[in-house]
């Protein structure tokens, strides 16, 4: 989640590849357009302005995904455009790329000016998926326009081709996003594709419909209607912005309030944050999907909240060293508090079973097993990054593995820790 604040650092190889590809396409598009000149200047400027406006109004969806639905729809509309008021358009795919990149740059400038640079990989992906569609569709444009019989015949063929190509583009976009994400957060590609699809489907459908609408509307109305036709999407964008906002606030609030146990002296400073980080990394490693990960994160953050009901803080707050009866009662009390929300029942269940041993017939949920191991590890190691201490703690958990802790969880924790502390390796 820290990536948003430092977009230039920590780029993975996939991201670099994507950015390079987008950069090359942009250079080709702009060079070509500069060489042959802008065709249908007015139309290009109108759509470019809409792309810029959309980029200006970009938003960040849950999971730190940057999207610009209005910009994407405008780019889509410009790509799909066959005629304006009965006059066929002749712009090439490379010109589409040039208009898109110019619009995006323009729209990103005000954000840059106030110190919010766009995420390079996100903007590159937007550009590249738009370019893909342009290269597939623009060569067909005059052919397709002929099937409409100069705007008087049927539009069904055009609509069909549009639908197929847009679907293909959205699918490609999802796959690119999933590959990047899988690399970035170290999760399985299969899981990443499912997550991306779930996030992209509603907004993608809205963008596709609006983009098609823009292209078709320019047939019967002139460019002045362009802004009006972006209106349905504007409503959608407002709704999604609100949704993304409350999701972000929710997570921030749980993170913040989980810290009251630290302020109250019940646990060591940073304990809940560290346990939640480690738990999330293990959960991803084990292929958990995003909704489950969110529950895991909430549960990990609040796993010690039951201590608030204790009369006196346990010295040091180390629950791994307290007796099992007390640990169980803390888990029960915590689950009771979370249950009071009336909405986080599954999180409450995870917290309730965080102390249960791995043996026995009734195996606790995966999230509980992860939190149990991560909590024990943090109790032993704390904020220290000393590798010897980490190795000793892991060894101790391994000894209890299969009995107290889930061996699969402990092993993937070992991999995660090995990855997270490479700096101290000599």
């Amino acid at each position: 989640m820290t990536l948003a604040t430092r977009p230039m650092q920590g780029l993975d190889s996939g991201q670099l590849l994507l950015i390079c590809a987008a950069g090359m396409v942009t250079v080709a598009g702009i060079a070509h357009t500069a060489a042959v000149g802008l065709v249908d200047t007015q139309i290009a400027i109108a759509f470019g302005a809409l792309v810029a406006a959309g980029e200006l109004a970009r938003l960040t969806m849950p999971g730190n995904r940057e999207v610009a639905p209005i910009g994407a729809a405008a780019a889509l509309g410009y790509t799909l455009l066959l005629d304006v008021g009965g006059v066929p358009t002749r712009h090439s795919a490379l010109q589409v790329v040039a208009v898109m990149s110019a619009g995006m740059t323009l729209g990103a400038l005000p954000h840059l000016a106030v110190g919010r640079p766009p995420r390079l990989d996100a903007i590159a992906r937007r550009l590249l998926s738009g370019a893909l569609l342009a290269f597939a569709y623009r060569p067909l444009a005059s052919l397709l326009y002929a099937t409409t019989d100069d705007g008087k015949g049927t539009w069904w063929v055009v609509l069909g081709v549009m639908a197929v190509l847009i679907t293909a583009m959205l699918a490609a976009d999802v796959v690119i996003a999933a590959v990047l994400r899988a690399e970035q957060v170290r999760t399985a590609l299969r899981v990443a594709i499912r997550d991306e699809l779930r996030m992209a489907a509603p907004l993608g459908a809205a963008v596709a419909a609006s983009g098609t609408l823009l292209a078709l509307a320019s047939h019967s109305m002139n460019l002045a209607a362009l802004v009006v036709f972006a209106a349905p999407l504007l409503v959608t964008q407002v709704a999604f912005r609100k949704y993304a906002g409350i999701r972000a606030t929710y997570l921030q609030t749980v993170r913040a309030l989980a810290r009251v146990t630290e302020v109250g002296g019940y646990v060591e400073p940073g304990h809940s944050r560290r346990v939640s980080h480690l738990s999330l990394a293990i959960g991803r490693e084990l292929g958990m999907a995003e909704p489950e990960l969110l529950e895991l994160e909430y549960a990990a953050l609040m796993h010690d909240i039951g201590q608030l009901s204790l009369r006196d803080p346990i010295p040091g707050g180390a629950t791994v060293l307290t007796d099992p009866v007390q640990a169980r009662s803390i888990a029960e009390l915590g689950a009771e508090i979370i249950k009071k929300t009336g909405v986080l029942d599954r999180v409450a269940d995870i917290v309730r079973r965080q102390g249960d041993p791995f043996t026995g017939r009734d195996v606790p949920p995966l999230a509980s097993r992860i939190i149990k191991a991560a909590n024990a590890y943090d109790d032993l190691v704390g904020g220290s990054t000393d590798r010897d201490r980490a190795a000793a703690a892991l060894e101790r958990l391994r000894l209890d593995g299969g009995d107290e802790y889930d061996p699969a969880v402990v092993e993937s924790m070992a991999r995660v820790i090995d990855r997270l502390t490479p700096a101290t390796r000599l």
């Binding site: 419909a209 609408l213 409503v235 709704a239 929710y250 609030t253 309030l257 109250g264 508090i337």
Partner: protein, 451 residues
């Protein structure tokens, strides 16, 4: 139906009758609705019905946004006045859950009347009732605006009259902001109707799908947003209560301060965004108390200056905890300064008068009031009147008179539900109680001067 008062019944029958006459006359008179119109009419009616059947209530209580408006107005252009009336009348068949027959009848009739009137205006302004040809879009604009300008207010008037006759609405309670919001959103939907009509010549019914799909997705997203919002409110309340379970007598304090602060905010006319923010600020105002050592809170008698300083630190501690949350900055100011006093003798900064942020002045009143009207280990709860008298007495020295006045008015109007008697804790239950509530203006904390 039975629970309706008789003027409402008369009104209902009149509206239904007028709609019936309009549609009947239109169908009898030849050439009003040509045969080639029927397929279009059918598609539009279906569309209207689908839109009307989906639950429509959105975030504002005053205005239920309904996409069906777009379909009705598209019908005005595409199938004329009688056609629009017929499309509107299909609202009777709506399958929206929880809508009894008489309401559906009224909805259908009023939509029919609005559709007819809008169609008439459309034609009067020179609009041709037919699928507009591709190159004639601009001719459509004027008449369509006229039609929408009649449809939307007429709909609002017919509906408002019904609500006020049925006694569900008191005209003085309708906020102007709500009406403006309602009109703007419906004019927006009217635009979408124009889009559907304008594109009909090219791709027929697909135009409706293309226009309405983003709107339906928007509604879905709004639904998700509302669900998250509710879930969020429940979670923040539960977590705040968890923080205060330690002290037996202050349980529920945070939620009550939150609602009292919201009452004051509403009374002084704050916007919805700020009202929500002050609700959260009121909820979270004391989370920092957990950082105050229990032995200080429980100490009987006078505190040392050092111990008092620990108590004075709790607003800052609270701010430290919640700083990572994306609230309005005012909410943070409210949490940090809720123990400032008008005379400048409060803490942590000793601000005075107008220097104290508005949110903090509001929370201060709500906080003290709830403390006084709740039982404490060392005293019983005061009555609401006593507590208000105390607020009045301290107004100007401790509290902002404006906020005290606003709160008194709000309590007069909407009442206040005090926490009720806390039974003395059971003998076997180990509870913690503070020796003196730091929020209680009638029992100031005494500090030993070490000098």
């Amino acid at each position: 139906m039975r629970e309706l008062p008789w003027p409402a019944k008369v009104y209902l029958v009149t509206v239904v009758g007028v709609a019936g006459v309009l549609i009947g006359r239109g169908l009898v008179v030849p050439d009003r609705l040509g045969e080639h119109h029927w397929p279009t009419l059918l598609v539009l009616a279906l569309l209207f019905l689908v839109c009307e059947s989906v639950p429509t209530l959105l975030n504002v209580e005053q205005a239920a946004m309904s996409v069906s408006f777009s379909a009705a107005l598209a019908a005005v252009v595409l199938v004329g006045d009688v056609g629009a009336a017929l499309v509107g009348a299909t609202a009777v068949l709506s399958v929206r859950p929880g809508l009894p027959l008489h309401k559906r009848l009224f909805n259908g009739a009023q939509f029919a009347i609005c559709g007819y009137a809008a169609g008439w205006v459309f034609e009067w302004l020179g609009g041709a009732q037919d699928v507009p040809s591709v190159d004639r879009f601009t001719d459509l604009l004027g008449p369509f605006m006229g039609a929408a300008a009649v449809f939307v207010p007429l709909n609002a008037v017919l509906f408002t009259v019904m609500l006020s006759l049925a006694g569900q609405l008191h005209l003085d309670e309708v906020p102007l902001r709500g009406i403006a919001q309602f009109l703007v959103s419906y004019l927006g939907y009217a635009t979408f109707g124009l889009l559907i009509a304008g594109l009909w010549a090219t791709v027929q019914s697909i135009s409706a799908v293309l226009v309405l799909l983003p709107l339906f997705i928007a509604r879905w997203a709004f639904g998700q947003y509302l669900a998250q919002q509710r879930s969020y409110d429940a979670t923040i309340a539960a977590l705040c209560q968890a923080v205060e379970t330690k002290d037996y007598y202050t349980r529920g304090h945070c939620t009550r301060v939150s609602s009292a602060s919201t009452m004051i905010a509403q009374e002084i006319g704050m916007g919805p965004e700020r009202m929500r923010a002050i609700g959260y600020a009121g909820m979270l105002h004391d989370v920092g108390k957990l950082g105050v050592p229990t032995k200080v809170l429980q100490k009987d008698g006078r505190l040392t200056e050092e111990e008092y300083a620990a108590i004075q630190l709790h607003p800052m501690r609270g701010l430290e905890i919640v700083r990572g949350i994306d609230f309005l900055d005012e909410a943070f100011a409210g949490i940090m300064h809720h123990h400032e006093r008008q005379d400048g003798k409060g803490y942590p900064m000793g601000l005075a008068g107008a220097e104290i942020p508005e949110f903090a002045r509001i929370i201060a009143v709500a906080d003290a009031f709830d403390s006084m009207t709740s039982d404490r280990a060392y005293r019983k709860a005061k009555s609401i009147d006593e507590a208000i008298a105390e607020l009045r007495k301290q107004s100007g020295t401790q509290f902002d008179p404006v906020m005290v006045c606003a709160f008194v008015k709000a309590v007069d109007r909407r009442g206040w539900d005090p926490p009720g008697k806390m039974p003395a804790p059971k003998a076997d239950e180990i509870v913690e109680t503070v020796a003196k509530d730091h929020d209680d203006p009638t029992a100031p904390i005494e500090v030993v001067s070490e000098r």
